[in-house]
């Protein structure tokens, strides 16, 4: 497939040229001096690449003043390591003192997806239980979770208030053609992002929403709405994260193409197999690899480590060793498969523990 010009939010193709997307949307590169202050691999390794109006959040972090940390999951499928990355970022911001709101977007998921993808609200809630149990297992505190379908009436009332503050002209300018399901799902997204600033749920504060670049239209829309609502609100800021590369060539990790992804619910031996058969771009023979070296930038396994292996030094060693041809890709695969297998076993034990908790939070 050729280089994309427009970015399809629902596509599975990797975005190759982020800089043109920056220009198109008016985003700013994430500055080096902020990376130094944010001690997490996702910042250090430049997986967080850009921002929109992050200054007020950064100022709040530095001054230890209140700020809101908001993210959400549309529960339309099982979670994979791409989602884990977003949750890792959420938890890091939480550790910096944020007031955190983690949204389980079950209504949104059902309403915005075609029936062929998500046939019923019940199915969205099944995924909600799975997604939520995974989030809890990843450390998201129960008290920081909100479930769209279990909110008090004020939340929904607010979603409808929001609809009054957006003209269809603005909507069309941002999203193109209006589709009713998407309109109403978007109302919930805006309510998700803004409701923590309402007096019934919290108070006005700089808000950070970590998103993938193709979600930027929502941020532009919600910033516009924040200024029009009859409440004191700080227009939300966003962080843009690169997609977790998938395990196949030229694809991001995507639920809609299962062989590109390692799901948090994959049996460890299946995950192991997925790593062992992932695309690396390595040389055809050991001799060639030793002589010419390989390219960790294109290697899906090296990238997996970059996104999920904590130890900077080890990741760097592996990358350099593969680049110089000292290591064969098979060796990197074995190392990564061991890591993933072990990680999944531990995670899934926690997941099992949190499953009934999640069930109660969705249906209780």
């Amino acid at each position: 497939m050729s280089e994309e010009k427009t970015i399809d939010p629902w596509g599975a193709v990797e975005v190759k040229d982020y800089s043109s997307a920056f220009q198109q949307f008016g985003l700013q590169q994430f500055p080096e001096e902020w990376r130094k202050k944010l001690d997490h691999p996702l910042f250090r390794r430049k997986i967080v690449i850009a921002h929109r109006d992050f200054e007020p959040v950064m100022a709040a972090i530095v001054a230890k003043k209140p700020f809101i940390n908001m993210t959400g999951i549309a529960t339309s499928g099982p979670l994979h390591f791409g989602h884990k990355m977003v949750i890792d970022l959420f938890m890091f911001l939480h550790s910096l003192g944020a007031t955190s709101h983690f949204g389980i977007a079950d209504i949104d998921a059902y309403v915005s997806r075609p029936d062929s993808k998500l046939p019923s609200l019940e199915k969205a809630k099944e995924y909600a239980i799975e997604n939520l149990a995974n989030a809890l297992a990843l450390g998201v505190p129960k008290k920081n979770v909100f479930v769209q379908s279990r909110m008090p009436s004020r939340y929904y009332e607010f979603a409808f208030e929001v609809s009054k503050k957006m003209t269809s002209a603005t909507f069309e300018a941002i999203y193109g053609h209006i589709d009713l399901g998407k309109v109403s799902a978007n109302l919930l997204q805006y309510a998700d992002i803004l409701h923590p600033q309402l007096k019934e749920f919290g108070s006005p504060a700089p808000t950070v929403v970590p998103i993938a670049i193709e979600q930027d239209p929502h941020i532009r829309a919600v910033r516009d709405i924040a200024k029009r609502l009859p409440y004191k609100m700080v227009p939300p800021s966003s962080l843009y994260i690169t997609h977790q590369p998938g395990l196949r060539e030229g694809m991001k990790m995507s639920s809609s193409v299962p062989e590109t992804a390692i799901f948090l619910t994959d049996p460890p031996e299946i995950a192991r197999k997925k790593i062992m058969t992932a695309f690396t771009g390595g040389r055809d023979t050991a001799e060639e690899q030793h002589r010419l070296g390989a390219n960790p930038e294109v290697c899906k396994v090296c990238n997996f480590l970059k996104f999920h292996f904590q130890d900077d030094k080890k990741v760097s060693e592996i990358w350099e060793s593969e680049r110089k041809g000292k290591t064969l890709c098979g060796e990197v695969k074995l190392f990564t498969a061991d890591f993933v297998e072990k990680w999944l076993k531990q995670h899934q034990a926690k997941f099992k523990k949190f499953k009934p908790v999640a069930e109660k939070m969705i249906y209780g």
Copy 2:
């Protein structure tokens, strides 16, 4: 103003030619044999003029089987006698054994009106309290009332589910241009009409919604949605009622033109004055009136009696007497002013009693 070709749901002009509207929308005249079975002035006096698919409701009434009776008020202003008529009809259907749902549409009112008409949600709730206290004073039982902004989450979830079952093509075909505030307000209207058939709120049954003719697009939309939803639902039926004529020539009773209306909260002496200065179309002199007679069809005071005075015989006498010139319009005005003044005094005593109940139901 000249005869309208299209009907403006928010206009104040009287609809003169209902038969062309019937044809345009595909409605059916309300049959004589049903009028005989429905013992209420609004049926006898042909104020209920048409229906859409009323057969299943009529069958349920005759067989004493369950049916749903649903109406609602968008709380965008004070209630007048035009609203009283709708509530009278609602209460008559209730007396026939219906499962009744009376909706206080406060979110809808705020979201679908421009700020110039309804500047805030608080204002919509102020009207909600006034409207609800009036409805309770008119006999609507508290347990049959639901308030949009105070519903359990399942109601809102359902409103969003509904959005998935309407394509923007259908929406545009029915309503013309899509306006976001109207889209979202409509979702609530559809949920209002259909939620009594959900297992969480009731069960499937023939449903009657009494409406003014220009609200028919909502019925067509909601019938289409009822068929697409993944729940067992009977597509709702509707009754079409003529507008309460206003007190000025050529106008319906409308909150937006206060001099056309007698509000349920009008001080009785003000209401009296409004009746005494209403348009009658009577002759210039007593002599002429006696000689030529007058026209009760155009007389706003005679019409007021037709819509609100219980005693058929008395109304008929007054109409015939005015028609033949035996009575002067001033005499009819005096009679009607006395009736309205007395009625309002009694009603407002009840209203006062129900005001704190209504306050609690809105803000509780």
